[in-house]
Amino acid sequence: MSKWRLKFSKTGMGKYISHLDLLRTFTRAIHRANLPVRYSQGFNPHQLITFSLPLALGVTSETEFVDIDFEDTISPREIGEALNRTLPPDIKIKRISRPEVSANDIVSARYIIDLSVREGVEKSKVEAFFEQESIPALKKTKKGEKEVNLRDFIIECEVEEVDGKDIKLNTVLSAGGSANVKPDLVLSKLAEFLGISEYSEMNIHRTEIFFNNGKEIKNFY
């Protein structure tokens, strides 16, 4: 077994590195670090790299995961040190361990969201949005658009603070293979509900990823 799971953060302007570009970024950082990575077989061999859960463009995170196959000649400490030298400054490897749980079992993720609006908003109004039974929304899928009840994708939401023109949310949204929603969609529906055209500021930060081990929901690792 030569597969390692790397936990990393993606902060600052790193939020504008798209999912596809992130793969290229890791591939090249591994190349620069001269690490003994393993390649796929076949006509066009590529490094064996798999991200556990894609992160939407524009979102920062302190808890991302990527699985990479290395030869056994290298220790996790060496991998971490080398990559932190060759990755761009906005990506940092935080921990390396053997993958024990499957990314297929990921069910949700927590986001801390800071919003600013131009007009003052009442806390009760923001809470009222999340208390609705049904939030009809058009969700983009691979085939096109589909009408869904967004409420089914919002597992938890606490309106932590509404201070004049600033809103702070702490929310857990469905994530992973079976049901997934981008925080953007929830926020655009909230804006519609509040009757505003756009937020003057919007910062979304992913803090936790959860998986279901068949018995309970736990932090992914």
């Binding site: 302007m13 590195i17 798209s18 591939t27 090249r28 060759t86």
Partner: protein
């Protein structure tokens, strides 16, 4: 921290491809003592993906940043969606690394790679809130300079740019930075800096020259109006490439850019002398890197970038004298690290399958060749010393080697071209297909073959033997394209062509004089930008701008110029003499070819630089 950063970041959330604007890539340079340094803004007048693919920018960016007293930051043209946000939120043009307004830099340098980017130069100055005309810039405004191939005839930008840098920048850029420091310390007025650098070889300050015109609108004279300005401005070259600045690191972008790979420059210049090709004359004489230096540099670039592809770059890579040795020494490194070697710009007369087999060990993509003209007569006129037999032989080798897609590049509208020559393009493509079907079915690789024929429209360029030639009228070019479309009968050939409106404007600005500066500003006011992008090019707006300025664009593109006429760029010396260009022009009409620099010196004048192929 820049006050604009917050606004700029907020705008990023409302636009496509924010990755174009965020920077922070691996190997980008961020200097902490920014305020104390000479600040150079390196502007590429196109989007990030295009600009980041350009080797010259990579070299000068790292070279200037290697100086302790200087900071060089990048600036690209914001795409139209970002421009709209910036104008709405009153964000001026910012540098990529520090988010500092471009107008706060000391020197703002543009690279001019193609004429159709001129409107972006003007638009970027406007976004930067820098006065558009050099005469309007005062005290604290930055100096605006420009370099690159189009700077050799930068006259259309003469009223906009403070100074041009002609030739290779490795030495002269350092000299203008040194001069800046001296000038700053001297406390002299703005013009004092320009007077200092006008004495540096390769620097051209257009406002130090007066242009007079004849009654027929042709140029009468270009005369310096102060003592520091030389009558002729000679381009700069680096005599010994190995001893010059060696680029051993490159910024590695996050997003996919046009040329997303290591560019290993093997030599500069070209030995060939195709009569339409401006680069072939501008970059003379040919100077090569040594194989030792190239291998050493390649290793460093691989280690410092992590790229998975490396391209051996030059104007004609198969003309590199030690190509075989270079590849033999590079392969052990690249194979081991799974790096693909690619070889652009191959010629059909020295193509070797063995070489191709080596470099493209994995992927069998298509091959591209540029016969440029459809008949031997016309190929002799343009001095493209390629024979039909060479092309067919090469096609045969490629098909045997398992390739079954070939791209052929041609030009239409070349001097002396007849419909027979145009028809020759279709015939040549058919002959290439014929070569494939001559191979017995049993040993043929692949079921069918595709030949893609692309034609661009000939644009006469300054500093070439064809600088005196008129361009074909747009109607004629379209007629020739339509004729060729009809002549192509088999489904194995597909045909691409260029819009002739763009080629016309390219000719106008390539051969233009400084009266076009006002046209550029007028076109900018009408919203012209990104003219190299089909979806933004508006021929109508350009024509309105010409009408308003009372200038006839056809004067520049369609007029046959007499050898005795003063050309708007006659005061620029690229090292190739006008007499040589005239001789080559005459030889074109008698269909005589000129051998390459290695077969025999034709006496172009570039030997005056004292280096390169002239002394091999």
């Amino acid at each position: 921290m820049s006050v604009y950063k917050i606004k700029f970041e907020a705008a990023l959330k409302r636009i496509q491809k924010p990755g174009r604007y965020v920077g922070n890539e691996f190997n980008s340079v961020h200097k902490e003592n920014f305020g104390e340094l000479i600040k150079f803004a390196f502007c590429f007048p196109d989007v990030y993906e295009v600009g980041m693919s350009h080797l010259g920018m990579k070299i000068l960016y790292h070279m200037m940043n290697d100086r302790e007293d200087t900071v060089c930051e990048r600036v690209f043209a914001p795409w139209v969606d970002m421009e709209a946000e910036m104008r709405k939120d009153e964000i001026p043009l910012l540098s990529m690394e520090s988010y500092v307004p471009v107008k706060d830099f000391d020197i703002v340098g543009f690279t001019l790679q193609y004429e159709m980017s001129y409107s972006n130069v003007v638009n970027m100055l406007d976004l930067a809130e820098i006065p558009l005309r050099s005469a309007e810039r005062k005290g604290n405004d930055p100096f605006v300079c420009a370099g690159g191939p189009c700077a050799y005839n930068g006259e259309p930008l003469a009223d906009i740019v403070d100074f041009f840098i002609l030739g290779e920048g490795e030495e002269v850029n350092n000299e203008i930075l040194d001069a800046y420091k001296e000038w700053k310390a001297s406390g002299q007025a703005r013009v004092g800096y320009l007077e200092r650098i006008a004495k540096i070889e390769g620097v051209y300050v257009p406002s130090f020259y007066d242009v007079e015109y004849n009654d027929d609108n042709t140029v009468k004279s270009v005369v310096p109006n102060r003592e520091c300005a030389p009558a002729k401005i000679k381009k700069r070259i680096v005599k010994e490439l190995d001893n010059s600045y060696i680029l051993d690191k490159m910024i590695v972008p996050f997003m996919d850019i046009v040329h997303d790979r290591i560019t290993l420059e093997v030599f500069r210049g070209c030995i060939r002398g195709c009569r339409f090709c401006q680069a072939g004359y501008l970059y003379r004489p040919v100077r090569e890197h040594s194989v030792d230096k190239l291998v050493e540099t390649a290793q460093k670039l691989i280690d410092n970038t992590g790229y998975e592809e490396m391209s051996l770059s030059s104007l004609s890579t198969s003309d590199f004298t030690c190509l075989q040795e270079l590849i033999d020494r590079l392969l052990p490194i690249t194979v081991d690290k799974r790096i693909n070697l690619s070889l652009p710009s191959l010629r059909v007369d020295n193509f070797s399958m063995e070489l191709m087999e080596k470099v493209q060990a994995v992927k069998k993509s298509g091959l591209t060749f540029a016969p440029e003209a459809g008949t031997q007569r016309l190929r002799d006129v343009i001095n493209k010393n390629v024979l039909e037999e060479d092309l067919l032989r090469t096609a045969g080798i490629a098909f045997d080697g398992g390739y079954n897609r070939i791209k052929l590049y041609f030009m239409i509208g070349l001097p002396t071209e007849t419909m027979e020559d145009v028809e020759g393009i279709a015939e040549l493509a058919e002959k290439v297909i014929g070569v494939f079907y001559q191979i017995p079915k049993e040993i043929r690789k692949g079921r069918s073959v595709t030949v893609t024929v692309s034609t661009s429209s000939f644009v006469p360029k300054p500093f070439t033997p064809f600088q005196w030639e008129p361009q074909n009228r747009m109607e004629t070019l379209v007629e020739k394209q339509d004729f060729l479309k009809e002549r192509i009968k088999t489904r194995n050939i597909s045909y691409n062509w260029h819009r002739s409106h763009v080629s016309f404007l390219e000719a106008v600005f390539a051969k233009g004089d400084r009266r076009l500066s006002e046209v550029l500003i007028a076109a900018h006011k009408k919203g012209c930008r990104f003219d190299g992008w089909d979806e933004h090019f508006s021929y109508e707006k350009w024509m309105e701008a010409f009408r308003e300025c009372g200038i006839d664009p056809e004067f520049y593109a369609y007029r046959r110029i007499d050898h005795s006429e003063v050309l708007p760029w006659d005061h620029i010396d690229i090292g190739v003499s006008k007499a040589f260009l005239m001789k080559e022009h005459d030889k074109a009409y008698t269909e005589q070819t000129t051998p390459s620099c290695r077969e025999g010196c034709a006496g172009c004048g570039a030997a005056s630089f004292g280096g390169g192929v002239c002394f091999e």
